[in-house]
C-alpha cells in the first residue's frame, strides 16, 4: 500500500562507494484520505447542529377556594377558543353557547389547519389591533427613535389592551404535544399577548367528536 517510490534509487556504483538511496518524497496518501473521509462521515452523521431551545409558557394559577372571580374582569371583547384534536384544529369566537341565547345562535365549530393560509391568516386578521401597532414601532426602532426596551414595553402594552386578541386553548384526549406546540408557536409569531390553556368542557368535546367523524 504505502510504497515509497524508489525508482531513482541508487544501489552501489562500480567503485563500491556507498551512496545514499535517492528516494522520492512522494508518499501514497490513499489510506490517509480513506481514514480522513471515514472520520468526516462519522462526525457529519453524528453531529447535531441545532441546540435545543426552550419556549416559555405561563399557565394560569390554580384558583384557591377563597378566590372571588370578578365578572367584569372575566369579560373579554375579542377572544377566540381553539380546540385541538389529533392533527386537527377547530375554533370558535366569543363565549361558548350550548343553546341559542339572547338571539345569538348556538356555537358551531369552524375548522382550520396549521398552514400559513389557515391559522396564521386567521390570527393576523383577528389580532390586527396589536399587529397594526407593531408596524410603526418597528419603523421607529429602525430609525433609532426608540430603544429596544421601549419597543418591548409599548408592544406589551398593546398586547394587554382589551381589544387585543385573547386566546384560549383546549385539547381533547387525542391531541398530541406537537399539535399543542405548533399552535403556541403560531400564537407567538402573531404576538398574541394573552393565551391560556384550559380544560375542555363536555359539550365542546361532543362538538369535536361530531366534527371528527
Amino acid at each position: 500500500m504505502a510504497q515509497i517510490d524508489d525508482s531513482g534509487g541508487g544501489g552501489h556504483d562500480k567503485k563500491g562507494k556507498k551512496r545514499a538511496k535517492k528516494s522520492s518524497t512522494h508518499v501514497d496518501m490513499t489510506p490517509l484520505v480513506d481514514l480522513a473521509f471515514l472520520l468526516l462521515t462519522f462526525f457529519v452523521l453524528t453531529s447535531t447542529f441545532s441546540d435545543p431551545k426552550v419556549m416559555s409558557l405561563t399557565y394560569p394559577a390554580k384558583p384557591k377556594p377563597d378566590d372571588v372571580i370578578d365578572p367584569d374582569k372575566a369579560k373579554v371583547n375579542n377572544a377566540i377558543t381553539f380546540l385541538l384534536s389529533k392533527d386537527k384544529i377547530y375554533y370558535y369566537e366569543g363565549a361558548f353557547k350550548k343553546e341559542p341565547t339572547d338571539g345569538m345562535p348556538a356555537t358551531t365549530l369552524k375548522e382550520t389547519d396549521f398552514s400559513a393560509d389557515g391559522v396564521r391568516k386567521l390570527l393576523i386578521e383577528k389580532n390586527s389591533y396589536v399587529l397594526n401597532r407593531k408596524v410603526p414601532l418597528l419603523g421607529d426602532l429602525k430609525a433609532g427613535k426608540i430603544t429596544d426596551d421601549q419597543m418591548k414595553e409599548e408592544l406589551s402594552k398593546a398586547k394587554g389592551n382589551k381589544d387585543a386578541l385573547k386566546v384560549l386553548i383546549k385539547t381533547n384526549d387525542k391531541a398530541t404535544c406537537r399539535n399543542f406546540i405548533d399552535l403556541i408557536d403560531e400564537l407567538k409569531i402573531n404576538d398574541i399577548g394573552v393565551m391560556a390553556p384550559v380544560d375542555l368542557l363536555k359539550s365542546e368535546e361532543d362538538l369535536i367528536n361530531a366534527k371528527d367523524k
Binding site: 404535544c177 406537537r178 408557536d185
Partner: protein
C-alpha cells in the same frame, strides 16, 4: 500538421489538498460536535421559532411518546440534596454503588420502589424497571415530590452558583439562577399525558413552564 503528443503522465494524483480539506472538515466537525449523554429514551421534540437558550439552573421532566415520565436535574449538588430528601420521605436506602450510579445517570424514570434495581441494572437492562415511569396519579404522585424537593433545593444551589459566577462577572442577574422548569415532551406524546405533569406543577404553584423545542426557520413548514 504535427501530431499532438499527449504527454505520458502518471495516473497518480497529488492528494495533499484533498487530505488538507478532509482534515479541516474533520477538525471542524469534531470541535463543533457536542458530547451528549444518551438519554434512556429518545425524544423527538417539536419545532418552533423560539430561540431562547436553555437556562443555567434547570430541572427537566420528560414525557416520551408512550406517556412515561422521567425526571432529571442538571447539577450533582442538586441531585445529592434531592436524593437525601427523597430518602427521608419514602424511607429507602441506597448502597454506595447505587449512589454513584444515581449521580451518573442522566434521568430517573421509575417508581421509588424500583429505584435500587434501576440503579443496579446495566444500561441496556434498565428498560425493564421503567414500567410506567414516575407515577403522577393523585394518590401516589412521586413526581410531585421530586419536583417539590428539587425546587426548594434548586434555590440554594442556584444561589451558590450565582455567588461563584458573580465574582467573575458582576453583571449577571440573580433571577437567571433560579431553578427553571422544563417540559420535554415528544412530538407524538398525547397532550393529556403532558397535562398530568403540568397539573403537578400547577399544584405546586409553579406556573411558568418551558417546553423544549428545536429551532425552525421562520416561514418554514
Amino acid at each position: 500538421m504535427p501530431k499532438i503528443k499527449i504527454p505520458k503522465s502518471s495516473p497518480s494524483i497529488d492528494m495533499t489538498p484533498m487530505v488538507d480539506l478532509a482534515f479541516l472538515l474533520v477538525t471542524f466537525f469534531m470541535l463543533s460536535a457536542k458530547t451528549r449523554v444518551a438519554d434512556i429514551v429518545e425524544i423527538d421534540t417539536p419545532y418552533s421559532v423560539e430561540d431562547k437558550e436553555f437556562p443555567k439552573n434547570y430541572i427537566v421532566v420528560t414525557v416520551d411518546k408512550n406517556g412515561r415520565k422521567f425526571f432529571s436535574m442538571n447539577s450533582v449538588e442538586l441531585k445529592t440534596a434531592v436524593l437525601a430528601d427523597m430518602q427521608k420521605q419514602y424511607k429507602f436506602q441506597l448502597t454506595n454503588q447505587q449512589m454513584e450510579s444515581y449521580l451518573k445517570i442522566p434521568s430517573i424514570g421509575c417508581e421509588i420502589k424500583n429505584l435500587p434495581g434501576y440503579l443496579d441494572a446495566k444500561e441496556s437492562d434498565r428498560n425493564k424497571y421503567i414500567g410506567i415511569g414516575i407515577p403522577t396519579d393523585s394518590t401516589n404522585n412521586q413526581l410531585k415530590s421530586w419536583i417539590d424537593f428539587s425546587n426548594k433545593r434548586g434555590l440554594t444551589v442556584g444561589k451558590d452558583m450565582y455567588d461563584k459566577d458573580f465574582e467573575k462577572n458582576p453583571e449577571i442577574q440573580v433571577s437567571d439562577y433560579k431553578p427553571k422548569f422544563i417540559l420535554k415532551a415528544d412530538n407524538e406524546a398525547l397532550y393529556l399525558q403532558a397535562k398530568d405533569v403540568i397539573e403537578t406543577f400547577r399544584d405546586l404553584e409553579l406556573t411558568n413552564l418551558n417546553f423544549v423545542t428545536s429551532l425552525q426557520m421562520k416561514g418554514e413548514k
